[in-house]
């Protein structure tokens, strides 16, 4: 299975490279290191969210509330910063992560304790969280001049030639890689999605694993909330509307199985970058940005077709033995 996955990610790297090369022929300067770094920076928030989404999807769940969580948390910290300009930035970032984690934990509780299907829970909290963002702000915007310079500049600070936003994405990618491949929680995540019955026999509490996955996804969404608001220098209720689908799309493109238990951090990152490259390339090669939605739709469907092929093959020959080993280990 590992071989197949490696193969898959290499393939995705290849496709992204071909795309970049193709766009570069139409628009010289597209493939320069500076522009590629820009694209990475632009995709950072999607990468962070996709990693949270991936953890949830691995446990055979889905979190549709990430974008609403982002909007609420972003609004909350932006308003706090505007109201109390003296508040230290570190505190605000911690608050953002905390609020996000709390909202994620609510999803997790409903899934764990009440055993409501995740899609129903997050469909409900999606509307509730965004509604709360409206109640909190009364529909008003928080504009750049109301926020403190420190709050706004933090993600833009250049460290070693790259903005801090990119570095944060890299740090989170590394962190998630450690969490998912080197910790007990990570193993429980794969097991409870890959084979729930076996996971229960192996002593894994699936509900609790899902709860932590949702909390983690919420915490990352909270952090992304701060990053989004400070990067775009504005907070309003409809921030990141529909972005939850982009995070799911990034996961699907990256080979994370919607049925749970299959997927890698590298896959999710590459899936996000794939979308990021397309998004940045369209205006450059003169295609209206209105076409972006249709293109990502086609890409998602194509990725699902491709995934289904790969999984079906694996499922018959390799995955069963391999899966059993993984659970008992």
């Amino acid at each position: 299975m590992k071989k197949l996955m490696k193969h898959r990610e290499l393939l995705l790297v290849g496709i992204i490279a071909i795309m970049v090369a193709g766009f570069a022929t139409r628009a010289p300067g597209f493939a320069t290191p500076g522009n590629l770094a820009n694209i990475f920076n632009d995709t950072s928030i999607l990468i962070i969210l996709a990693l949270g989404q991936m953890t949830v999807i691995l446990t055979k769940s889905i979190d549709l509330s990430v974008a609403a969580n982002l909007a609420f948390t972003g609004m909350a910290v932006a308003m706090m910063d505007a109201a109390y300009p003296g508040m230290p930035l570190a505190l605000l970032v911690i608050l953002a992560i905390g609020i996000g984690a709390a909202l994620g934990a609510i999803n997790g509780m409903l899934v764990w304790w009440l055993r409501i299907p995740p899609i129903v829970v997050t469909l409900g909290t999606l509307t509730i969280y965004r509604g709360m963002a409206f109640v909190l702000s009364g529909g008003a915007w928080v504009n750049s001049h109301q926020m403190t310079p420190g709050f706004l500049n933090f993600p833009r600070l250049a460290v070693l030639g790259m903005p801090l936003l990119s570095w944060m994405a890299i740090a989170i990618v590394l962190m998630m890689w450690v969490v998912l491949t080197r910790t007990q929680f990570g193993r429980a995540t794969y097991a409870s999605g890959g084979n729930p019955t076996a996971a229960v026999y192996a002593g894994i509490d699936i509900g609790r694993t899902r709860f932590f996955a949702f909390t983690l996804s919420g915490a990352l969404a909270g952090l992304a909330g701060y990053l989004w608001v400070s990067r775009y220098a504005v907070a309003y209720v409809d921030v990141a509307a529909g972005f939850e689908l982009d995070t799911v799309a990034a996961c699907v493109i990256g080979g994370i199985s919607i049925a749970g238990g299959i997927g890698t951090v590298a896959g999710a990152v590459l899936g996000a970058l794939f979308l990021g490259v397309i998004k940045n390339a369209l205006p450059v090669i003169g295609i209206s940005s209105f076409a972006q939605m249709a293109i990502s739709g086609i890409v998602i469907v194509a990725a699902v077709v491709f995934n289904a092929r790969a999984e079906r093959k694996a499922g018959r020959i390799i995955l069963r033995d391999r899966g059993a080993k993984e659970v008992s280990a």
Partner: protein, 340 residues
């Protein structure tokens, strides 16, 4: 496909056992439709106290426009969820069908032609979803997230930030006309469709097969039920209903923007689940969906009369969804604990 169901295979066995142990009285009182009907009446009474303008035939007639279009799709969606699939692209189908009708109207096509265009676009979109799910055997939740972005994307490519607004005068009937006194065309259509869907789901072979597949796809296959063909038909049906809803909505608004019906897929799924259809498939009634449509329509209309902004209403809809699902589970658990 079957993912959503295995997702909570353990949930189902757990919650299903105490259900059967209940006394006949608790079973009747616990019947979802009865409970929901009570909620609907409570909201109705609360509304009439909250606003003096509520109890007026024309006002109530206006209120029905809040849910009739969504409910038409919800009927088909209910069958799709019962069979174990889902279609998140319905709102995008409305957008695409509406855009196509707008373009056709621009070319001078009359009202009957426009209806044909809207319905055929719906059918084509439904056929695409159905093919991807039943022929290529892909998970419907991801497929329809993809086609949702594709269908609405095509509307955006066609329209950009423009809008179509020139529709023939007689086209307005579908969304603004009245059949008899305060009964609008849309409301009558809603009732007729509710009856048809009720019969199809609860009194035909086809409906029976839908339940069988939703409960045990494996057994259904062994019983010779054409699982894939039925799923395909249901996606086609959902596309058709989205097309019809697009005709009504476009006619009511008299204009088309690519953002038309944005977010409706979630409201429609909420309506279906609120109506007591199990998101895990295999259980549900059309009557429940009809009552749920009234509940959601009354809530949003009542709050509207109280000048509550739309986005705050969505909090209530979200809470309604979670509470109505959580409440029976909590009650059951408490009862289970107390008997222990």
């Amino acid at each position: 496909m079957s993912d959503t169901r295995d997702m909570s295979a353990e949930t189902r066995t757990r919650s299903a056992i105490p259900d059967r142990l209940g006394t006949p009285v608790s079973r009747l009182l616990g019947s979802w439709e009865v409970l929901l009907f009570g909620v609907a009446i409570a909201i109705f009474i609360a509304n009439s106290f909250a606003s003096p303008y509520f109890l007026n035939a024309w006002n109530l007639s206006d209120a029905t426009f809040n849910f009739t279009e969504k409910a038409m799709i919800a009927f088909a969606m209910a069958m799709l969820i019962i069979v174990g699939e889902i279609d998140l692209s319905v709102a995008a189908i409305i957008a695409l069908a509406s855009t196509a009708m707008g373009a056709a109207a621009q070319m001078g096509i009359g009202a009957p032609g426009l209806v044909a265009v809207g319905i055929s676009v719906g059918l084509v979109c439904g056929a695409i979803n159905g093919t991807l799910v039943s022929v290529l055997k892909l998970p419907s939740i991801v497929v329809t997230i993809g086609t949702m972005s594709l269908f609405r994307g095509i509307s955006y490519i066609t329209l950009g930030d423009q809008a179509y607004g020139k529709y023939p005068a007689d086209f307005a009937y579908f969304g603004q006309g009245y059949v008899f006194w305060v009964f609008s065309f849309e409301f009558v259509l809603f009732i007729v469709l509710a009856i048809i869907f009720g019969i199809v789901l609860h009194a035909t072979n086809f409906g029976r097969q839908v339940f069988v597949i939703g409960n045990n796809e494996f057994a259904a296959r062994f019983s010779g039920i054409p699982v894939e063909r039925i799923k395909f038909k249901l996606f086609l049906l959902t596309g058709l209903m989205s097309g019809i809803a697009a005709v009504c909505l476009t006619s009511r608004l008299g204009s088309t923007r690519p953002s038309i019906a944005q977010g409706w897929e979630l409201e429609i799924v909420t309506m279906v689940v609120l109506g007591g259809v199990s998101i895990l498939g295999g259980a549900g009634t059309i009557a429940g969906v009809v009552i749920a449509a009234f509940v959601m329509g009354l809530v949003t209309f009542g709050l509207g009369l109280l000048n509550v902004p739309g986005i705050v209403m969505s909090i209530f809809v979200g809470l309604l969804l979670i509470i109505t699902i959580a409440l029976p589970i909590v009650v059951r658990r408490i009862r289970f604990m107390s008997t222990k």
